[in-house]
């Protein structure tokens, strides 16, 4: 059996870099490794490490091992193997898998077994992936630390006293600890990119509409996106190539052809024009994060990129606009959880109205209620223009500011987060300070553009730092090329 992790590690180390998926696939195609053995090895590691991390909420062993057996049968016959043949992948628990628990990190969906598969789940399995199980996340993907999960927080493999980021904290931690070779997350305001940066893995925000949202338990429909985590840029690009593409089940999914992102990521970044927005390096940026990101920018210069200072003066309005729009949409989307069709129904259901309100009060956690209340308030008569409409106007200003920048540059680089992973409990009492954790990620969410968070060194204490690479709608290939150059430099 081939070694599954590269580099010398102590037995206690929680962080462990997965072997690149192309190498694993070669092992399986060459019948040197069986997909079934690989899956069992991952399950054994999950059993060992998950009690410390709480990254997985449930495992889909039967389905995974059946898929692995199919791959082994293909390999035994010498048939050509699909691109993700036998690759162990984890799925955030806001994405549905038929018959498997899908809680969205909420008590209100405890015990729910969805009757269908998300499009991304179908596409991964059609490409040969072995889906190991469902990962922990903030309740309904609402949070920046994974502390809002009804099933307990996830811990950061780099330092278990610290948060993994959120909301896709379980997916990020799973890849960082090599409990999966890749994972799916979702990103509404930074929920893939920020945990990727906190855990030291690659996380991708695809263009809005690039990946079908069918089967995603919705948070804010005009902002929600599904994207991959992986241990390296090329693997993340490979997974995006599998899950991307038009889907008749999602009217917002785009028809533009899916590029060969993995091949695109092999192209040198030389000659690309890279914008460095001053507003992302202003007050509030941790000096150690700044130093790491500046080293990354230096590496891009070394790689032959043309660096240009740019200005995005409205950036500071993105977090307030985002929280009004996202909560307004959430208040509508979460109206469906009422104790009628699925999930939790309160025993205090004497009347219909009482059934709704008791089921929701007992089923939702505090942050979800807070956001439903804020969104309902922002949409209510008398406040709609002042809050919701105003935020949508600011959304257009922010989006057009990006479009103007992308007339001058091919990509923008920024820190992914102003700070490295913070301690558990550090921000839970102050929602505004928690919301400010998203300050560098929400603007791209509002504009629908794509991006990658790529590991970019660490603080002197060893906490991972991420660089965010942003590119124009549907220019994922450009973002991957830039991210690859940062990765190759080994900042």
């Amino acid at each position: 059996m081939a070694p599954l992790a590269s580099g010398a590690r102590t037995a206690e180390a929680l962080t462990e870099r997965p072997t690149p998926l192309a190498a694993l696939r070669q092992e399986i195609a060459g019948r040197r490794t069986k997909a079934s053995d690989l899956a069992s090895e991952y399950y054994a590691r999950i059993e060992r490490k998950n009690p410390q991390l709480n990254a997985f909420l449930s495992l889909t062993k039967e389905r995974a091992l059946a898929q692995a057996a199919r791959i082994d049968a293909l390999a035994a016959r010498g048939d050509p193997l699909p691109v993700l043949a036998g690759i162990p992948i984890a799925v955030k628990d806001v994405l549905v898998m038929q018959g498997a628990p899908s809680t969205a990190g909420s008590k209100i969906l405890q015990g729910y077994r969805p009757p269908y598969d998300a499009t991304v789940v179908k596409r991964l399995e059609a490409a040969g992936a072995v889906l190991l199980g469902k990962t922990n996340c903030d309740e309904f993907a609402m949070g920046s630390s994974n502390e809002n999960s009804a099933y307990g927080p996830v811990r950061n493999p780099a330092d278990t006293e610290r948060v993994p980021g959120g909301s896709s904290g379980g997916s990020a931690a799973a890849v960082a600890a090599n409990l999966a070779v890749a994972a799916l997350g979702t990103d509404t305001g930074g929920s893939i990119r920020q945990p990727a940066s906190f855990c030291g893995v690659v996380g991708v925000l695809p263009t809005y509409g690039r990946v079908s949202r069918y089967g995603l338990i919705a948070f804010a429909s005009s902002l929600d996106r599904i994207g991959p985590f992986a241990g390296n840029v090329r693997d993340a690009a490979t997974v995006l190539g599998v899950i991307g593409g038009h889907d008749p089940c999602d009217a917002t999914s785009v028809r533009a052809p899916v590029e060969d992102y993995a091949a695109a990521s092999d192209k040198p970044a030389e000659g690309l024009r890279i914008g460095v927005p001053a507003e992302y390096f202003a007050e509030g940026l941790d000096p150690e994060v700044r130093a790491a990101v500046e080293r990354g920018i230096g590496a891009l210069k070394e790689a032959g990129c043309i660096l240009k200072p740019v200005h995005l003066p409205h950036t500071k309005y993105a977090v307030p606009a985002y929280y009004l729009i996202a909560t307004a949409e959430a208040s509508a989307n979460l109206a469906r959880f009422d104790g009628v069709r699925y999930g939790y129904r309160s025993p205090r259901s004497e009347t219909l109205a009482g059934m709704y309100s008791h089921s929701r009060d007992e089923g939702f956690g505090a942050e979800v209620k807070r956001r439903i209340l804020l969104g309902t308030y922002a949409l209510s008569a008398g406040y709609y223009d002042a809050y919701y409409r105003k935020a949508q106007q600011v959304r257009r200003i922010l989006a057009e500011e990006f479009l103007r920048a992308f007339a001058e540059v091919d990509a923008l680089v920024t820190p992914t987060s102003p700070v490295p992973a913070f301690r558990l409990g550090e921000k839970t009492d102050d929602p505004v300070s928690m919301y400010l954790a998203d300050i560098y990620t929400v603007t791209a969410s509002l504009a629908g553009i794509c991006g990658v968070s790529v590991p970019c060194g660490a603080t002197p204490a060893g906490l991972p730092v991420g660089m965010q690479v942003l590119a124009m709608h549907l220019r994922e290939s450009t973002a991957f090329r830039v991210a690859r150059a940062v990765e190759a430099a080994g900042v």
């Binding site: 917002t252 307030p320 999930g343 259901s349 109205a353 009482g354 439903i372 989006a399 505004v432």
Partner: protein, 101 residues
């Protein structure tokens, strides 16, 4: 800073959202909503007169999608959907009685 949201307003919004807040939850929610609303008031610094609201990024450019043909296609299996319901007779969702007589 003046408190924008009163206890009565928290209760009214909770009612609109079908949330039965426990009495001890109300003060905390009120405090948090006021803090968040103070913070988002920053948006008022911006003059947005004449700016069209942007609800969906597909309005921005040429990467938008198109609607599918309006034809009937098979949907989810009813029996499987009903199995996920807290209470069902296999064909319909069951809820507490709505009309008194």
């Amino acid at each position: 800073m003046a408190e924008k949201v009163t206890v009565e307003e928290v209760q009214r919004v909770a009612e609109l959202a079908h949330l039965q807040l426990a009495p001890e939850e109300v003060p905390r929610m009120r405090k948090d909503l006021n803090a968040i609303l103070d913070y988002v008031a920053e948006l008022n610094e911006l003059d947005t007169a004449g700016v069209a609201p942007l609800a969906q990024v597909s309005e921005l450019g040429d990467f938008s999608s198109e609607l599918r043909a309006d034809v009937l296609v098979p949907s989810l299996d009813r029996a499987e959907v009903m199995r996920a319901a807290p209470e069902s007779d296999g064909r319909f969702f069951k809820v507490p009685k709505v009309i008194e007589r």
